[in-house]
Amino acid sequence: MAKSLFEKVWAAHAVRTLANGQTQLLIGTHLIHEVTSPQAFGMLRDLGLKVAMPHRTFATVDHIVPTDQLVEPYRDPLAQAMMEELRRNCAESGITFFDRATGKQGIVHIVGPEQGITQPGTTIACGDSHTSTHGAFGAVAFGIGTTQIRDVLATQTMALGKLKVRRINVRGRLRPGVYAKDVILHIIRVLGVNGGTGYAYEYGGEVFDRFSMEERMTVCNMSIEGGARAGYVNPDQTTFDYLRGRPYSPQGAAWDAAVERWRGFASDPGCPYDDIVTIEAADIAPTVTWGINPGQGIAITESIPDPTHATAADERASIEEALAYMKLRPGAAIKGTRIDVAFIGSCTNGRLSDFREVARHVRGRRVAPGVKAIAVPGSQIVALQCEKEGIDQVLRDAGFEWRAAGCSMCLAMNPDKLIGDQLCASSSNRNFKGRQGSPTGRTLLMSPLMVAAAAVTGTVADAREVFAVNS
């Protein structure tokens, strides 16, 4: 019988059925970072357990690292303590740690793919909800809590109920100036922030066939913002071309065998899905969020919703709550809204292609007076490549601050934070109340080029007009 990738990967990693009906699932690759792992190591010590497969566990540091201070000790003693705790835990257990000194440090969801650790047909877990990013390679990847990190450390497995699979086809061709970020913001807007509960999303169709790996990662990254615990794209030649020659990719004869195996994991033609949704690429516009969850987005050409036009009491209440927090006017154009901060980075949009695209368009332009603009590469490798290509200089010349790799202002567990009710045009993934570090800070999610357009005009702007994007 024809099977989906999810079914095949699940079957290949199912150890046994547990008493409550869940599956004990083998997790081939475990990624850890400084924020959610220390308590798990503490639990292991309390139980007298050891890490079962240290060679299948990989660590990096991303959430708390300052992007403007490389030398330790960090100014924040709590950040320094977390850093040292991770270092100690990795050393004691024999876990590879991509620390800053290795030159390979970065946001965990950028490091895994970059090193070739993320591979098709594998299971991946990490104590971070954006672990779905790795699904871009045809892996089944789950964000987990700290107690489950303990489980994976101790047994290389976790207890999990099987997900349903929703196939999301994006048909046709994206219009110029429309990016992967717009595709996922549009999908979440259409299906809702909890539309994916209980599902893994399988993304496909012509748009995904043409997408680069980095574009696929941007979409898979935000699956969780649509409620889907996992999201993936079937592996194809684009996947294999990306992985060839990476440090952890198979080499020589093993490479050919691996590619053959990986191809076999792709969903079979005609396989059954629990649900199928089709979206027309032509319907997707550059998208901006106006509210306090990632589903509250509109096309740049649309007006901010008016609660009096809401069809349900619930919808009305949620629009009112969002507008009150965001201090935005119902019915007004989102375009032209003044911004205070522009942030380009994060596990969603902190990759080389994001910075290349921005640099190509901002060359010779200037960040508007009064706007603080920061560009934060997602990894040291991304940073180095940007510096080789002169991208950092283009951005600096335009008035952006060019920072060191980390999560930075996406969640503000480091010095990069909004102040007061600053409004931030952000290429990150969440616009929740207080997400960017100030309890009254406001976030507008958009693609990196839209952030750049906002930075140079000082207002929410249509990047297609600002940069004359037409091809």
């Binding site: 081939g28 591979q119 700290t146 909890n194």
Partner: protein, 200 residues
């Protein structure tokens, strides 16, 4: 280690209204700069409970009538967003023993279950009915009967389901899977040996 069989939770309840209450709202990221979960309880819902100057905002958890409540009521998609276990840890350390909502985000639900916090889903109208009853009498005793799948209060009963696998784990004292997962280790090693990318 034998775990407690969580068949029911009885106590007072507090209603925190709203849909899509995310884990950043439950515990803002800056309070996650810690290497243990101790002390997270006091920061539960911090930024919607406290003003910048440290004074209280109007919030159900600041209302002295609901102090000591052990059952948290809320709306749809509760616990969405970040996978941080700090959120259920903060809820538990604050003193809650159960969460009742219209629906739950997936990762949050799993994290709660693993800590022995039942997450029961109830219909919107039923939650409104319960919320009205506790607003009228904050001292009302509320029982979430995990086994029976209902909530009883003041002579009324409403359906409240904990999903089957979680319900089973809670009522049989298997909510922390570690013991069972460890028992499977020989089978895990055998499967890993047969799995090409792990065998290498």
């Amino acid at each position: 280690m034998a775990l407690e069989k969580i068949t029911a939770v009885t106590g007072r309840a507090v209603y925190v209204p709203g849909n899509d209450i995310d884990t950043d709202r439950i515990i803002p990221a800056r309070f996650m700069k810690c290497v243990t979960f101790d002390g997270l309880g006091e920061f539960l819902f911090h930024d919607v409970r406290k003003n910048a100057d440290g004074t209280d905002q109007a919030h159900p958890l600041n209302d002295p009538r609901f102090r000591g409540a052990t059952i948290l009521l809320s709306g749809a998609n509760f616990g969405c967003g970040s996978s941080r276990e700090h959120a259920p840890q903060a809820i538990q350390k604050y003193g809650f023993r159960a969460v009742v909502a219209e629906s739950f985000a997936e990762i949050f639900f799993g994290n709660c279950t693993t800590l022995g916090i039942p997450c029961a889903a109830a219909a919107r109208a039923d939650i409104a009915r319960l919320a009205a009853a506790i607003a009228a009498d904050p001292s009302l005793a509320v029982t979430l009967d995990v086994a029976a799948g209902e909530i009883r209060f003041g002579g009324q009963a409403i359906p409240a389901e904990v999903r089957p696998a979680a319900r089973d784990a809670l009522i049989h004292g298997r909510w922390d899977a570690i013991g069972e997962l460890l028992e499977g280790l020989p089978a895990v090693q055998a499967l890993a040996t047969r799995t090409p990318y792990l065998a290498a």
